[in-house]
């Protein structure tokens, strides 16, 4: 999966820093539709990068291309300066890229602990685990409880209650906690507040800032401009299958951003300094 290729030059405005995750010349076609058109992408350590764009601009395809859910037709993805080519989300996950999907990808009938460890269950040590493949429930429950506590979600009393008994915000919280627990390099959040009420959105935004404060960079895909402008360090504006520009929220208004992404206005430069 990993090769020794060095990554190409980073964008000049972040001089001195090496991008953690970057894509160069990413192209993906679905029949005659070009979802990604020679698209570039950069994510720097410790930042929250928002990705905005109109419906059908190719945001999701871009995110899927860097998280292994879609294999690009052309172009390269680099993680930590090393070329990677993920063939599945599982491979990306093993490399430390966790994605919280809009649908959350949780099994409603199973417990919180079961869901957090889905696909990477812990087994008991010794004969019980080796031969009888017995799950180490106490260890998984303890870990799940710790992770939820770290993110201030420990008003959850019973780690064994099924996910379907949680509210939308709680589910989102568990999904973010799962990503934060295992995502050692990058966490991708796809529309985390789209299905939530006002109060629950607030909580999730706080959660995102919590995760950021622990040094893990976040890619945030959202349609909600107030949320994007509140938490993002940089905003990647996606238009017609490629990166139109990367702006900093303090230099622009929300209507600027919307104007760029709908094509009503053209940005002055592709990158800007802080």
């Amino acid at each position: 999966m990993l090769t020794e290729t060095q990554s190409p030059v980073q964008d000049p405005t972040m001089a001195g820093q090496q991008p953690l995750l970057l894509g160069r010349g990413l192209t993906k076609r679905y029949g005659k539709v070009v979802a990604l058109d020679n698209c570039d992408f950069d994510l720097y350590p410790g930042e929250i990068l928002a990705v905005i764009g109109d419906n059908g601009a190719g945001k999701s395809t871009l995110i899927k291309a860097v998280s292994g859910a879609v294999i690009p037709d052309e172009g390269d993805v680099f993680l930590d300066g090393q070329k990677v080519s993920f063939r599945s989300p599982t491979e990306a996950r093993q490399a430390g890229i966790e994605t919280v999907y809009q649908t959350l990808a949780m099994s409603p009938a199973l417990s919180i602990a079961d869901n957090m460890f889905m696909g990477r269950e812990l087994r008991r040590p010794g004969v019980m685990g080796e031969w009888l493949r017995m799950l180490d429930r106490p260890r998984m429950e303890k870990f799940a409880r710790e992770k939820l506590t770290e993110l201030g979600l420990m008003t959850i009393q019973n780690i064994n209650q099924s996910v379907e008994t949680l509210s939308g915000g709680q589910r989102q919280g568990v999904a973010v906690a799962r990503a934060a627990a295992f995502g050692s390099k990058v966490i991708i959040l796809d529309e985390p507040t789209a299905a939530l009420g006002v109060k629950e959105s607030r909580r999730v935004l706080e959660l995102i800032l919590d995760v950021k404060s622990r040094g893990i960079p976040i890619i945030l895909i959202s349609h909600n401009m107030p949320h994007v402008f509140e938490v993002a360090d940089r905003i990647h504006v996606h238009r017609l299958g490629r990166r139109l520009c990367v702006i900093r929220p303090q230099n622009h208004t929300m209507s600027d951003a919307v104007a760029y992404m709908t094509g009503a206005r053209v940005p002055d430069t592709e990158f800007e300094t802080a």
């Binding site: 990808a105 979600l153 915000g169 607030r202 209507s255």
Partner: protein, 360 residues
């Protein structure tokens, strides 16, 4: 899109109430609903105990004796084994209509290999078990890789396997006496032992190896479903296959393993079928399909997948067994059995829907 809305600011400042708050519901009905949600085989267990007590009261000691109760176990052993296979498939939100056909063809292969070709009996049995597994894998491949609906796939393979069964066996039955004389291992599951019988061997509890096998099988599967990663993946696949796939479950491998295991269990049921009827008959076992689905549904396992306990399937099979024997001992028209089983099915599905509402 003009700035942060005011209500957002208000919420931001007044963060007194916790969002992620959990409280227990105190009403009795809600508690009961939650208990059922956590232990879905509770309902069939209660129904089973109540129906045993009911018939004990109506029929008396003729019903409520070790002999009669273990007779029920013997009568449901086949359905119980097949229902275990059916449970696995239904937990993945599928259905296996070919269970009966696989069981019969496997039993015919065991018999014909031993008698027609003179292959050593243990080897013939292995061939039968292998055939069942392969047939199950074919089902699994069609469902998981070709993405065909399980109902259609197994409706097709049911006919194909049954036809193969008749063509291959030339509709020929291997007589019980011949099996007893030449290949007693084929009747292994019919061997019995007694507990608590008098010195003449009468009365007491009678267990066949088939009954023991059924209980062991369900215990082992229950462990695998509850306490191994594979079991969690089976539930997750049935619950929401896309979510399972995205969280790292190999849905395709899980489905194929489930159908293959179902085929293997059905082949064991075929072996037990020889023990039950004594002979190898290509026309036997036709009712196993519907009986197994009935047991699973009465056992509180959701046809929509991802919910239920395999013990429920055993309880479901036993409920049917208790009703049929109990009503027969009462001397009632056997049609009443079907009448009550039909009612139970509808009640069971209604209860399943009610339990799901815990989520709301």
């Amino acid at each position: 899109m003009s700035g942060t809305d005011n209500f957002e600011a208000v919420v931001k400042e007044r963060r007194t109430e916790a969002v992620a708050e959990f409280h227990e519901d105190k009403t009795l009905i809600r508690r009961f609903q939650n208990a059922l949600h956590a232990a879905p085989s509770l309902v069939p267990l209660i129904v089973l105990l109540v129906s045993v007590l009911l018939f004990a009261g109506l029929v008396g000691s003729r019903f409520f004796s070790a002999g009669t109760l273990t007779l029920i176990l013997q009568q449901v052993q086949l359905v119980g084994i097949v229902a275990a296979a059916q449970t696995l498939v239904i937990l993945t939100a599928g259905i296996d209509l070919s269970v009966g056909a696989i069981a019969v063809l496997s039993s015919v292969i065991m018999g014909q290999f031993a008698f027609r070709y003179g292959i050593p009996v243990p080897l013939s049995i292995l061939c039968g078990l292998g055939a069942g597994t392969i047939l199950g894998m074919i089902n699994g491949w069609l469902v998981a890789v070709m993405k065909l609906p399980p109902f259609i796939v197994t409706l097709g393979t049911w006919q194909i396997i049954l036809a193969t069964n008749f063509l291959y066996s030339a509709n020929e039955t291997i007589r019980a006496q011949d099996i007893e004389a030449n290949a007693p291992a084929l009747q292994f599951f019919a061997q019995t032992f007694k507990i608590g019988a008098d010195e003449n061997g009468r009365g007491g509890a009678t267990f066949t190896y088939g009954v023991i096998f059924m209980i062991l099988l369900i215990a082992v599967l229950s462990y695998a479903l509850r306490s191994t990663a594979w079991g969690r993946h089976v539930y997750a696949t049935g619950d929401d296959p896309d979510a399972a796939q995205l969280s790292g479950v190999n849905v395709r491998a899980t489905l194929i393993s489930v159908y293959a295991l179902s085929g293997l269990i059905c082949a064991f049921a075929g072996w037990a079928l020889i023990g039950r009827i004594g002979s190898v008959s290509p026309t036997s076992g036709a009712e196993l399909n519907i009986q197994s689905i009935t047991a699973v549904v009465i056992g509180g396992i959701s046809l929509f997948g991802g919910r239920g306990s395999i013990w429920g399937a055993l309880f479901g099979a036993l409920i049917v067994g208790v009703f049929s024997l109990g009503l027969r001992l009462l001397g009632v028209d056997p049609q009443w059995t079907f009448f009550f089983i039909g009612l139970l099915i509808i009640v069971a599905v209604a209860v399943d829907q009610w339990i799901r509402k815990v989520a709301a």
